[in-house]
């Protein structure tokens, strides 16, 4: 169980809805992953079009929480307007705030991000900022009113997994009481387990599941890995040791 903005979420996995081979596979993957939240977006509708309606019905049928994003926005204005439109359409004040600053790495523009976060927090949005592992930026986001942070662990869709464990550790240590969700860059269940073992509160992913050969199987795998990592974090893991110690007691050993 996991609390976010007063909501109690049954799992610590947030799943994206993009790039699946088919709507049916998307729906099965969400169920298999046991995700408690799915992310969605907005796009231009064609005159007379019904695409949006079909997708929207599919999503509502999943029965999960919905987290709209501002994907692809490169300016504060774009992000803010998109957030407001999303609130009207999806009927939620939750917003995954993306202000992209670099087309190669799709990394956040931390300057625009903080500005947009302030505007949206003042407008009573529940802002989930997609940010870097920069502690100072994180402080600014909290000052701006954010109650949760979503640091990347690698570039979006890179599947590299946590490329800077040192920074993630520092972030967890520096913000013991802020919900931290690793967003973007995860490629394998072991990556998800690793960040959960570091004490992160949840993970958000999309490409690693949607683009897998078998998205449903991969979704299930990630679901289990997130649970495994969280349980390990709560169960007191062994510290690595340099010298080997026997697991089988040496006392009472026979001598031949």
């Amino acid at each position: 169980m996991f609390e976010l903005f007063g909501a109690t979420l049954p799992s610590r996995l947030l799943l994206g809805t993009a790039q699946y081979p088919s709507p049916a596979i998307l729906a099965d993957a969400v169920k298999a992953s046991n995700a408690s939240v799915v992310t969605v977006s907005l796009r231009r509708e064609m005159a007379g079009g019904r695409e949006g309606e079909k997708f929207w019905s599919l999503i509502r049928a999943l029965g999960t929480r919905i987290l709209p994003n501002t994907a692809g926005c490169h300016s504060v204005k774009e992000a803010v307007t998109t957030a407001k439109m999303a609130r009207e359409v999806f009927g939620t004040s939750w917003i995954k705030l993306e202000v992209i600053g670099n087309q190669d790495t799709l990394q956040p523009d931390v300057f625009g991000l903080v500005e947009a976060a302030r505007i949206l927090c003042e407008d009573d949005f529940a802002v989930f900022p997609y940010t870097t592992d920069d502690l100072v930026v994180a402080e600014r986001l909290l000052d701006a009113g954010c109650k949760v942070l979503m640091p990347w662990c690698a570039p979006i869709g890179s599947a590299l997994g946590p490329v800077n464990i040192t920074a993630l550790r520092a972030m967890r240590k520096h913000f013991p009481d802020v919900p931290l969700i690793v967003d973007a860059g995860l490629g394998r269940p072991s990556h998800a387990a690793t960040v959960m073992e570091l004490g992160f509160d949840a993970v958000l992913l999309n490409t690693a599941v949607a683009k897998a050969a078998d998205p449903v199987g991969m979704a299930r795998a990630f679901g289990k890995a997130v649970e495994a990592g969280r349980e390990a974090f709560g169960s007191g893991m062994l510290e690595p040791r340099d010298v080997a110690v026997p697991s089988t007691p040496t006392f009472g050993r026979a001598v031949f």
Binding site: Y20, R43, E45, A47, G52, M85, F90, N206
Partner: protein, 65 residues
């Protein structure tokens, strides 16, 4: 009137946003509208007067990461 709707230049005979949607056969409560980069609430579309050259965005739900 000359408008830019979802990036395309159109000439439409519609004085309000609601009229524009009707003229273009848009319907459904899952649509969101913005004029010149600002949200226009569903409730305000009927009285929202369009002007020549307005940029209108009509969006609906899609997959997202």
């Amino acid at each position: 009137m000359n408008l830019i709707v979802n990036g395309e230049a159109l000439e439409v005979d519609a004085s309000t946003l609601a009229a524009l949607l009707a003229a273009l056969d848009y319907e459904g409560d899952w649509l969101a509208t913005a004029v010149n980069s600002d949200l226009v609430h569903k409730a305000n579309r009927a009285e929202f007067q369009l002007s020549d050259g307005d940029r209108i965005e009509i969006l609906s739900p899609m997959q997202g990461g």
